[in-house]
């Protein structure tokens, strides 16, 4: 039987990459000549929420499924609430309910994006992908850029306060209920948030400026890092405007041609399929008309900025135009452009929060509507990390959920993250001695998608990393462990 020493082949395992609502790892197979044969990003944890909610009541879904995640629970909370709106026949919410939910959602997007850019991604961007690990972490950022770090913490805090005011709690609140919300925004809560609203817009502008400066300084290297052409999927408003809370599906190809547009959430299964591959617990969604091979797509900030025709807040729209000019109006397909797009959305969210706080509808007590019950509810929302689908079937006699299907943002980006791992591995690992710094490049590629996994890998700057040299017979020839 051939051994690794005979064949010279190597398998590098990065395990765990992080917590992606569970557990993920990367495997990279390198042949004797040092070429990357195959690189994969595996999700090896089974979640099971679709099963947990079976038999539970539909009104419990918004509170129950948000426990999927501690980072963007609001997205699941709101998406499930939107699906239960359909179930209770609430086709149009009251203005107060819709706006309070939107405020909650923009608060969530604001804090999540700020967390990702400043705490998780900025160490790579500010210090370099292979900077010493002692420096390449959030503590390093605090030491070298104390003002940026302070703003980052306070931006996150602000977003959490918005969530608390609308959902009742900063994490895992109960604000959105079938057909509306359970509380208005009090004058005290409004004034508390309003006093810092301008500052948040200003800090978002500065954060975006920092991101642009780093990206431009990185030049061609950063542009090509882990890049590849792809389709892009998101929801947009009927007039093509960016809308993170509600809208219909639009998909564009790498050149900006429309694949489909204004697809109602209820029809998602006609357009999106899900492929199962034996080596990952995460499914691979694809656009049915393009097939499994070519139908994969990107979601998240980059896809949303690429997909929309305009943004309805002035500062973010100006920034969108500058961003899109880089591609001559065509979609930007650079992986690292995710950060830039994410900061445009951060600014958009700050502008939206300020706009909503000044709306008197938020103090209205007209909060819940209901109509004729239905046996099925499907909803789509743009979570910070991308398009999120919730689909429930309900027994209307007992009010119990009989079936649930969730396609979460990270799942939608599954193939794209695998591509990024492949491209980065080929770009940086081929023919080289593997070092921690080089392996971090792989993580940087994944991290750009913000798949909930950056937190575990980066928060303390020492991701737990296991590299194994494995022979074809499975024998571990060599192993290095850190963390």
């Amino acid at each position: 039987m051939a051994t690794a020493a005979d064949t010279g082949k190597r398998k590098i395992v990065i395990n765990p990459v992080t917590r992606v609502e569970g557990h993920g790892k990367v495997t990279i197979h390198i042949d004797a000549a040092g070429n990357v044969e195959q690189a994969r990003f595996h999700i090896i944890e089974f979640r099971g929420f679709e099963r947990f909610v079976q038999g539970r009541f539909y009104w419990e879904a918004p509170v129950m499924v948000q426990r999927l995640c501690g980072i963007c629970p609001v997205s699941h909370h709101l998406c499930a609430a939107k699906a239960t709106d359909v179930i209770v026949g609430a086709d149009k919410l009251t203005p107060a309910a819709e706006k309070i939910r939107r405020l909650m959602h923009y608060g969530q997007t604001f804090q999540s994006h700020a967390l990702h850019f400043f705490h998780l991604a900025s160490p790579d961007l500010l210090f370099g992908f292979d900077a010493p690990v002692e420096k390449r972490n959030v503590i390093g950022v605090i030491q070298a850029y104390p003002d940026v770090a302070k703003q980052a913490v306070l931006m996150r805090k602000y977003g959490q306060e918005v969530i608390k005011a609308t959902a009742g709690k900063k994490i895992h609140g109960t604000g959105a209920i079938p057909g509306g919300v359970n509380k208005p925004l009090s004058i005290e809560e409004r004034d508390f948030l309003l006093k810092d609203a301008d500052t948040m817009v200003q800090w978002s502008v500065e954060g975006l400026a920092l991101c642009k400066k780093i990206t431009k300084a990185g030049g061609q290297t950063l542009l090509e890092f882990g890049s590849f052409p792809s389709n892009h999927l998101s929801i947009v408003r009927e007039d093509g405007c960016m809308d993170l809370y509600d809208g219909k599906l639009r998909a564009k190809d790498a050149d900006g041609n429309i694949i489909f547009d204004q697809v109602a959430p209820a029809d998602y299964l006609k357009y999106i399929g899900e492929e199962v591959r034996p080596w990952s617990y995460m499914k691979f969604p694809f656009i049915r008309s393009l097939g499994k091979e070519n139908g994969w797509y990107r979601v998240g900030p980059l896809a949303r900025v690429n997909n929309c025709d305009f943004i309805d807040t002035p500062l973010a729209e100006q920034e969108r135009q500058e961003f899109m000019a880089l591609g001559g109006g065509k979609p930007i397909n650079a992986t690292m452009a995710y950060h830039w797009a994410r900061m445009i959305e951060t600014l958009h969210s700050a502008e939206k929060i300020r706009e909503l706080l000044n709306d008197p509808d938020l103090q209205s007590e007209d909060l819940v509507v209901a109509g004729e019950k239905r046996p099925e509810g499907i909803a789509i929302i743009e979570a910070p990390r991308g398009t999120l689908f919730h689909h429930y079937e309900v027994n209307n006699q007992t009010d119990q959920i009989t079936r649930a299907n969730l396609i979460v943002s990270t799942t939608n980006n599954n193939e794209a993250m695998n591509r990024a791992v492949n491209v980065v591995a080929k770009q940086y690992l081929e023919g080289k001695e593997i070092t921690e710094g080089l392996l971090n490049h792989v993580e940087v590629g994944i991290r750009a998608y913000d798949p909930c996994l950056s937190c575990a890998t980066h928060a303390l700057g020492k991701m737990r990393l296991q590299v194994q040299l494995v022979g074809p017979d499975g024998e571990v020839v060599d192993e290095k462990l850190r963390g």
């Binding site: 038999g55 009541f57 009104w59 419990e60 918004p62 509170v63 129950m64 426990r67 959902a167 009742g168 709690k169 895992h172 609140g173 109960t174 604000g175 209920i177 079938p178 359970n182 509380k183 819940v368 006699q397 007992t398 009010d399 119990q400």
Partner: protein
């Protein structure tokens, strides 16, 4: 049971009970809180949960069933008794399946509030992880037996107030469960949503449907003060 007012002490505080009152009722009127779960002021006492156990002249007894009498010396808020109560509540938690994070009764739940009041931070006993049934057959009321603590309030309310026999107990020991007076499920009984039996459950076991999370965090019964505060407030106001 005395037919005249009587005077006795609880933790050294002298109180007067009306004729026919139990120790727990007299304590409530005097603004002294004795922890309890199965007791409900609208129902006859059950004496099931033993949380209201106090020491009467040095001997333990449930205060919800023990008549007040002249000269009794009652101990209530002692370390020993509160340790026992904490352990009882802990056993109730591990015997059932109490998922507070996603329970719609969280914040209004007497079991949860009692755990907070007694300082039960996390169970030290192993969970039973038992299989319990959810009965969603009734159009307006559900029974989630995961959350049942066998207090019997529902059975007493159905019998004494509603004059029906919708709920009862069946089985023994760890197999004891709340049953319904029908061949299969709650939907076959004559329970109405307005019945007392559908209102008195201290946990989220018997709940009206479609209420869900309508009460926001911050406005729930025990969001701002521990269970029993209402009774204790009446004493401080005196």
């Amino acid at each position: 049971m005395s037919d005249k007012p009587v005077t006795f002490t609880i933790d050294g505080v002298e109180i007067t009970a009306k004729a026919g009152q139990t120790i727990l009722q007299a304590a409530d009127d005097a603004g002294i809180y004795i922890p309890r779960l199965c007791y409900h002021p609208s129902l006859p006492p059950g004496g099931h949960c033993r949380l209201c156990t106090v020491k009467i002249n040095g001997r333990p007894a449930s205060s919800c069933t023990f008549p007040a009498d002249e000269g009794l010396v009652v101990e209530n808020d002692t370390e020993e008794l509160n340790d026992h109560r904490r352990r009882i509540v802990e056993m109730l938690f591990v015997e059932g399946n109490h998922y507070c994070p996603t329970c719609e009764h969280s914040g209004n739940c007497e079991l949860q509030a009692m755990a907070y009041r007694l300082g039960l931070l996390a169970p030290t006993l192993p969970y039973f992880r038992c299989e319990r049934e959810l009965d969603a057959s009734h159009k307006d009321v559900y029974v989630d037996r995961d959350r049942c603590i066998l207090c019997g309030r529902c059975a007493r309310a159905s019998r004494e107030v509603d004059h029906k026999v919708v709920f009862g107990f069946e089985g023994r020991g760890v197999h004891k469960r709340i049953s319904v007076d029908a061949p299969h499920n709650l939907g076959e009984t004559n329970l109405a949503a307005a019945d007392k039996a559908a209102e008195v459950c201290p946990t989220g076991c018997i709940m009206l449907k479609r209420k869900g999370f309508a009460i926001p965090v911050g406005q729930r019964k025990y969001d701002h003060e521990p269970i029993g505060s209402e009774i204790e407030r009446s004493r401080s106001a005196k």
